[in-house]
Amino acid sequence: MLPETFTPRFLRQIEQLRIRSRRAFLGSRQGGHASIRRGHGIEFADYRKYEQGDDPRRIDWNVYARSDRMYVRRFREEEDLSVLILVDTSASMVIPEEDSKWIIARDLALAISYVALMSQDTVILSALGAFHSPKLSGARALHTASTELMKVQPGAEINFLREIRLAASRIRFPGKAVLISDFLMPISEIREALSALRAKNLDISAIQVLGPHDVKPFDEGAHVLAQDSESGEEVELVIDGESAAEYNELLAKHNKDLEQACYEGEITFSQKLPAQPFEKFVLGNLTQIGLLR
C-alpha cells in the first residue's frame, strides 16, 4: 500500500517518467535503457533480415515496399538499469518529528522506485542501518518496496559512512544510485560517503531533504539548549537577529559545500526544501537534475 502522497493523479504522472542514466550500463535483462550490447532496443543501429520470431512491429515496411524483402530494424541493445536507492534513517531524519523529513525521504524513495519498477528497471532499496532489499523488479515489487519502507523505524544510531559502504558492497552491476538524506554532517564525511559510491562506478544522484527546523531552528529571541539528536551534544544559545542571520549563512555555506562536493564527484544534486510541494519536486526538480525523464 502506497502512502497517501501517491494519489492516482500523481501515479499517472510519474508513470510517464523514466530513470535517466547518464551512462550506459551492462544490464542483466532487457530493459528500457541503452545497453552497450546491440540487440533489441529503441535506438536504430541498422537493418537485418527478418527472422521468425521477430517482433512484426520492427519490420521496416518502407524497405519492404522498395525491396519486396522483409527487414527488421536493428537497435542498440536495451537492458534494465539497476537503481540503488539509499535512504538515511538516522535520528536527524525524524527530529523534530513535525518536520516529517523521514516521510518525505521515504516517499521520494518510493516514487523513484515506482518510476524504476514501472520502466522495468531493477531496484535495490537500502534503508541505511535498517534493511537492504534484494533486487526488486516488476510492478508488483512496488508493494514489497512500500511495505518494507513503511516498516522502517528511523532514529537508530547509525554510522552513515559504514552503512553507505555496506550498501555499495552489495551491488553486482553498476548502475544508478540515489542517496536521500539531510546531509547535516561534516562535509568530509559526505565526501567519503559519495566516494564510496563512486568507487562502484555508480551514476549518483543526491537529494537533500531539509525540514523547517533545519532552515530555522529557533525563533528570534529564544534562549535554548539544543541537543543533537544523534550525538547528544549540547549547545546553549541565545538567538538574536544577528545569530539568526549567521545561521542562515552557515546553512547556505554548508549546502554550497555539499553541492560542490557533488559537482566534483559528477553527482547530480537536488535539494528538497520545506516550502516545495512533494509532487512538484518529483515532477520538476528531479527531472531538472536529470534523475528522471
Binding site: 547535516l184 544523534e230 549547545v235 546553549e236 544559545l237 545561521y247
Partner: protein, 622 residues
Amino acid sequence: MSFTLFGAGFSFALPAALFALPIGAAALIAAYRSKGRLSPVLVSSTLLLRLLESKKPARQKFFPPLRFFLELLSLILLSLAAAGIYREGSGKRVALIVDDSFSTAAVNYLETGGSKVIDGIKLESRQLVRSLPGSSAIDLYLASGGYTPIENGISPVRAEERVSNLSFSYTSDSIESLLNRVAADPNYSEIVVITDKSPEISSTNGTDSRVRIAHRGLPDAAKNNVFISDLKLSSKQIGAPPDSILVSLRSQSADTFSGTLTASQVNEKLSGLSDKSEKVPVQLESGASERFSLPIKSQSAAYQVTLQPAPASRDAISEDNTAQIGLQGGQEKVVLVSPVPVSKLGLDKISVIKFLEVHPSELNDSIYNDPRYANAPFLFFATVPAALPPSSAAFIDPPESSEIFTVNKVFSGKEIQITSWNEQHPLTAYLNLPALKLSSVSPLVPPAWAETLITSTEGTAAFAGEVEGRKFAVVGFSLFPYRGKADPLTSVLTLNLLKWIAPFNSSSGYLSAPYQLKETTSVEAIGRSETFQGKVISAPGLYLAKGAQSAQPLIVNFFSDAESDLLGAKSLAYPPAFTGEVVAPKGESLTPLLLRIALGLLLLDLVLSSRFIGLGGAWKAA
C-alpha cells in the same frame, strides 16, 4: 584533630562529620551550576549551531548569587557543629560558691557607713571571676540555693553580672555540706567559696587542692549582735484575748546590751501598722537570753515587734531586730441559739470565736439556709430544735421537752457528783471531772449514735457522737457563765466542746521565711510597698493574702540562732583530698552558637528565595 586560630585552640569531638562539608559543597556547587540551565531541546543536528556558538563570546564564569554563599556558609557552620567543634585551651570548669546566708546581712559598725558583709562577698566574687580565663565555665552556687547551682556553665562575664545583683537572703547556710557535695564532682578544676565563715585554721595538707576558701567576714570586734529569737502572744486568762507579747531576746555580744522594745499592730483594715505602742526598755548581759513582756493595748490580727538598740549598744544585724506575731486562723463562727445573750453567758470572753446570736423563737429550718450561718456549727443553750441541725452542734442544758434525745427531769441538789467520765474522748480527756460541782443536772439517755461522756450519780450527764459526719455533744448541765480561769474546769470543758464542734486555733503563731504560698493568692506587704515575684515570701514581715472572698494576714518570721550568732559561727572546713581523677576541661562547645548562626543564615536564605523578593539569581550563559 585540633587547630589554632587567633591564638585559641579548637578541636572536634567528631571530626569524621567534617566529610559532610566537601560532599555538601560539591553538591551545592553542582546544583547552582545546573540551576540556571535550560531543558535541552532535541534538534536534528547541532552541526551548524555548534559553529554558531563558537562565534559567540565565551560563557560567563560561574558566578553564583548571594544565596549560594548563604547556603555554603550555613553548610560550613552545620558541618562544624556536627563535628562538635569546641574551644580548647585553659577553659576550665569552676564551681563558685557564694555565701548569701542571713549572716551576711551583718554590717561592720566599727566603720562609718559600714557596708554589709554581702557587699564584700560580692566584690570578692567579682574580682575572682575576672581573674579566670575567658573560656572558663562557671557553675554558680548560692547558700540560699541549696545543692543546685543557680547558673550552669556560664562565662566569667555573665558570672560577674550575676553576682553583682546578689543580696543577702533569709536562709541558713549549709555551706560546708554544699562544699563537700561540690567537691565530689570530678568535673571541677577549681572550687572557690566566698563566705563570711572563717576557714579552719589548719594545714591544708590532705584537703582538696582544688578548693579555695575566701573569707570576707567581720572582725570579731564587729560581731556583736542582739536579736529576737522568738515571739509569743500571751493572755492572763485562758481563752482570753492576748494582752501581751512575750519577746525572747538573745545577746551574742561581748558587751551589755541596752535597747527598747516597741510593738505596732495592724490596723483594722489590714492596710498598715498603727502607731507604736508602749515602749519597754530592755537590757541584756553579754551572752544572755531573756524574755520580755510587751503589753498589748488593743486587739489586732497581728503585731510587729521591734528592738531598737540604744546608741551605745552595738548590734551588727538590724534585720533580726524585728519580728511579727498574730493569731493564726482568725475567728471561727458559732451560731448561738439561746434565750440569754452571749454576754450574759460570758462567751464573749472567748476571743477566737465569734458567736452569732439567734433567739430560740427565731429558730426554724430557714435558719440553716441563711448564708450568714453557712457551715457554722450551732451551740444550743436551754433549747433544742425539732431535728438535728445540718451542721455540728452542742447542746448545753437542754430542756426536758427535747424531741431529738431524751432529757429526763432536772435533778437539783448538793449531792450530785460525777461518777465516771470517758478519759479517751477529746472532750473529757485530761479533765479532773469529779472536781466539778454541779448544782443541777438533767439526766440524759444517750441515743444509739452517741457514747456516754460523763456519768453522774443521777445518770448520764453528757454524751457525744457523730451522725452522718456531723458532731453532736449534749451536756445535761449548764457550763455558763463562762468565767475563764476563774472556773477552769468548766471553762476548759466549754472550750473543748467548742473546739470539738468548731476547730479553731487559739494559739499565737507565725510562718517561717521562705514561705511557699499554697494557692494562687494576691499577696501585699502591709505597711510598705513590695512587689512579689513568684509564689514565695522570702523576707519576714506582715503580709496580706487576698483570697476570693476574704483577706487574711500572713505573719512571716525568720529566726535562726546560728545565723544571728556571729560570734559563735563555726569555721568552714576544707573537704578532704579528692581521690578521683579530675576530668580535663573539654573546653567550650561552639555547637550551639554555630547552630544559631546557621539557622539565622538559612532563614535569610528563605527570605531571599521568596518570589516577592527578586533576588533569586538565575545565572546566565552567553
